[in-house]
């Protein structure tokens, strides 16, 4: 059963559609992280809901440089997403970008992305690269801009408000026909990094590619993610976030919630539909609905997360 902290009026739904942005804000309440649809959060009156303090917002797959029919204005849709974050009554301190910042790893694309993202009023931004960010021959464009926190390794951890964050990179060691890879060095580092934390510390792990196998033929997964999951099992609250597939898929396993994010740029087909995971062309009317209008309902139970994502089209049809 689920509780619904926000009114799902038709008016609100239409308002969400108008934004056409994408993002999820995570609230921290009683040590439990609660993802809430960004469009709703922006419209959310703090005194009306006991969900907690906004902790971070997740933005993903901005694909700056993309200019095909599926969305000729990715700068515009990212800008609308940023406006949505900035309009929140209480800003989260952090933004997490889960990769594919750019489309083709070009310097000009990174420059534009940084310029646009600098408008975010959140105080900190943390990033991990997607495979679209690391296609330049020397793999230096991403790291020269965002590599500092990780010493150019691509993985690092930090703490904020009692939550331990682990940023991982799984887009560098592709094998033919295979999934993303974390690699032995990174896995050993994660295990050591987690060892020092108490089991009651909420953990947030984020990477670009899914940290569980969603669809192997399209490489939607991380081949050695099982070794990452092991040292996470003892923790009471673990949230694993990624982008890459431009749609929401979620899995709950014990205390671990795996959650993918929508893109701010263009949708992709559901697993196995069509020839491959390329841009999905939809009508201009439908596009905003595909770009991350995520409807998330949150169960009131403090120690379990149960999320329900839906497109606005679906939410709009409901009369709750």
């Amino acid at each position: 059963m689920s509780n619904q902290p926000f009114s799902t009026s038709r008016r609100n739904a239409l308002k969400c559609m108008a934004f056409g942005g994408a993002g999820t804000v995570f609230l921290l309440g009683g040590g439990v992280l609660t993802p809430v649809d960004l469009a709703r959060a922006a419209d959310y009156k703090r005194e009306n809901a006991p969900l907690g303090k906004p902790l971070f917002v997740q933005i993903s797959d901005t694909h700056i440089g993309f200019n095909k029919d599926a969305n000729p204005d990715v700068n515009g849709t990212l800008t609308r997403t940023i406006d949505l974050v900035n309009a929140m009554p209480e800003l989260p301190p952090l933004t997490i970008h889960t990769g594919d910042i750019t489309h083709l790893s070009k310097p000009a694309e990174f420059d534009t992305a940084q310029q646009l993202l600098s408008r975010l009023r959140t105080t900190e931004m943390h990033t991990v690269p997607g495979e679209h960010d690391t296609t330049d021959p020397t793999v230096t464009e991403y790291f020269s801009r965002f590599g500092k926190p990780s010493g150019n390794k691509g993985y690092y951890s930090f703490d904020h408000a009692g939550v331990h964050f682990v940023a991982l990179i799984n887009v560098l060691q592709f094998k033919a026909g295979g999934l993303g890879t974390l690699g032995a060095d990174q896995l050993a580092w994660v295990a050591a990094d987690l060892k020092a934390r108490s089991s009651s510390t909420p953990i947030v792990v984020f990477a670009h590619m899914p940290l569980w196998t969603i669809y192997e033929p399209w490489g939607w997964g991380t081949g050695d993610a099982d070794q990452l999951v092991e040292p996470l099992r003892r923790f009471g609250s673990v949230t694993l976030l990624n982008g890459h597939i431009h749609q929401i898929v979620q899995k709950v396993e014990g205390n671990m919630t795996f959650h993918t994010a929508r893109s701010t740029a263009y949708p992709q087909p559901a697993a196995g539909e069509g020839t491959g995971p390329g841009p999905l062309k939809v009508s201009a009317t439908d596009l905003p609905k595909m770009l991350g209008i995520t409807r998330v309902m949150v169960t009131p139970h403090r120690h379990s997360l149960a999320l329900h994502d839906a497109t606005i089209a679906r939410a709009d049809g409901e009369t709750t």
């Binding site: 029919d69 679209h132 296609t135 995971p277």
Partner: protein
């Protein structure tokens, strides 16, 4: 060994020419081609295996709306991300079997055999 990017203006002409030459060479004498084109379409390399002679150049042409890369499994060659209608070329000057993938979509694999 060396690799080169062909300029955007010449890429289509070069690719088309390569395709024509490749076809003109006939099916049984593919190993004698001085050049070959691999089309990247629908998340596949086509043909998935090309046989060329030593010194021949292979040109990959991306026909998808999605960018792809051409990355040798040994590190011998690595293209930048190829947007729609962009190409990447590599000259093979030693015999051998060369495997490559798209690093953005590693389920895409292909092989060049140089005789």
């Amino acid at each position: 060994m060396k690799w080169q990017r062909i300029g955007i203006l010449s890429k289509l002409a070069a690719a088309t020419a390569a395709l024509v030459m490749s076809c003109a060479s006939g099916s049984s004498s593919a190993s004698q081609s001085a050049s070959a084109t691999v089309e990247v379409k629908d998340f596949m390399f086509a043909p998935v295996l090309s046989t060329i002679s030593v010194g021949a150049t292979v040109t990959w042409l991306n026909k998808d709306d999605e960018p792809h890369t051409v990355v040798s499994d040994t590190g011998l060659f690595r293209s930048a991300a190829l947007d729609t209608n962009e190409t990447f070329s590599f000259e093979f000057d030693r015999p051998g079997t060369y495997h490559f993938i798209c690093s953005i979509h590693p389920s895409m694999v292909g092989t060049i055999v140089v005789q």
